[in-house]
């Protein structure tokens, strides 16, 4: 599971098809020195070779590079793509069993009269969740991370290709059920949304602070079960805001529909911003083209002739 696309051992698959194209070590061949065994110089020259006579002395190389720089670059590319397509992308994170997929299917049913919704489903194994989403009529692509514990930006970029054409829609990315690792990986989303169910402990935000710090919205799910549980909602929200004072919280139940309206409105507001941003950039481009055409015309060249 490499940090870039998780396909390290060939265990990543998108919609069941294995995906391991990117380990193209094309530069392996650029440094051939005439000895066949040296061609793999960069990828596993053992210590036995390192002290061969004639090799240079050791030296320090300062690089100051972010360990996750590659993921960051893919995330930025995704973000640009989402902007161009007018997509409002949400990265849904939670522990397994918080009811993310049920929440997602209920959300899609509630949102479909307002906008198109597409889903990228991340799980270690099985196509089950994408199938559940497709039952709602929404387009969904399943990413199986194999041994990987999180989705990364490279996987999401490829998964998006499977959902095209797609424009002016909400893209829900359901991350692997894990409150630890997905916190560190930007997918290019507009917001991370942490789903916490009241059947879990109210101190979960304290136990997994990185995730609640990275999220902009917390959905407190399964609130219909509160009468049967010893779960202190106010305490839970207080803990979450200790980690992240700006965290928004919506209490809801995907099963009964309680609180769903607030969540759907939140999504719609974000979606409207994404669509408006795309339309503005299209309008700006059109204006720029008109200006250039006017200049061509002024110079005595018609745009068609040019």
């Amino acid at each position: 599971m490499c940090t870039v696309c998780g396909c390290g051992e060939g265990s990543l698959s998108i919609d069941g098809a294995s995906h391991h194209h990117h380990h193209e070590h094309e530069h392996e061949h650029e440094h051939e020195h005439g000895h066949g065994h040296e061609a793999s110089l960069h990828y596993g020259k053992g210590p036995a070779h390192a002290h061969a006579p004639g090799l240079s002395q050791s030296r320090m190389v300062r690089i100051e590079q972010d360990i996750l720089a590659k993921n960051g670059a893919y995330a930025e590319a995704n973000r640009r793509r989402f902007d161009e397509l007018g997509l409002f992308a949400l990265n849904l994170v939670s522990s397994p069993g918080s009811g993310k997929t049920s929440l997602l299917t209920a959300s899609i049913r509630g949102l479909r009269s307002r906008m198109a919704v597409a889903v990228i489903e991340g799980d270690q194994q099985t196509q089950n969740d994408a199938a559940r989403i497709r039952d709602t009529g929404a387009r969904a692509v399943q990413v199986n991370t194999g041994k990987g514990c999180h989705l990364d930006a490279h996987m999401v970029g490829h998964a998006l290709e499977h959902l095209l054409p797609l424009q002016d829609a909400t893209l829900m990315i359901e991350n692997v059920g894990n409150l630890v690792c997905p916190a560190g990986f930007d997918l290019g989303e507009a917001h991370k949304v942490a789903v916490l169910s009241v059947t879990e402990g109210e101190d979960k935000p304290l136990k997994y602070p990185d995730m609640f710090h990275a999220a902009d919205l917390m959905l407190l799910n399964k609130v219909d079960l509160l009468p049967y549980l010893d779960f202190d909602v106010a305490q839970c929200i207080d803990y979450a805001r200790r980690i992240n004072p700006d965290l928004e919280v919506i209490q809801l139940s995907a099963t009964t529909g309680q609180g769903m309206e607030a969540w759907l409105d939140w999504v719609e507001a974000g979606w409207q911003r994404a669509v408006a941003r795309r339309q503005e950039s299209v309008a700006a481009l059109k204006q720029r083209i008109a200006e250039l055409e006017a200049r061509l015309e002024a110079a005595g060249l018609s745009p068609d002739a040019a």
């Binding site: 599971m1 490499c2 940090t3 870039v4 998780g6 390290g8 530069h27 650029e30 440094h31 110089l41 960069h42 990828y43 596993g44 020259k45 053992g46 210590p47 390192a50 090799l55 240079s56 002395q57 050791s58 030296r59 320090m60 190389v61 300062r62 690089i63 100051e64 590079q65 972010d66 360990i67 996750l68 720089a69 590659k70 993921n71 990987g148 514990c149 999180h150 630890v180 690792c181 916190a183 560190g184 935000p205 304290l206 602070p209 990185d210 710090h213 803990y239 805001r241 200790r242 980690i243 004072p245």
Partner: protein
Amino acid sequence: MHEMSLCEGVIQVIEEQASQQGFERVLGVTLEIGALAGVELDALRFCFEVVCRDTLAEGAALHIRERAGRAHCFDCDRPVEVAQRFDACRACGGYRLQVTAGEELKIQELEVE
């Protein structure tokens, strides 16, 4: 979190640097890791050794420069040190803290030959 993936990220950077800067072996790797970066240092050391096997960094020494967590407290309007995300401000006990340092996750330098 995912120390194994992070180590693989380190190896990726090293391999890119090896082809750009023309070195063949890495003897030492210096990382800068913040206290709030979500990295378990013992796990990182363990994974690093495993991930480096059969690469040009096999047997490389791992040096970690730890960086303390720092935050700005909006309640008492001053910079404070924090060890964890859920720490309260040491001065006033408030929780309205904006983390300003301690999230570093960087490769600083390599000793190569």
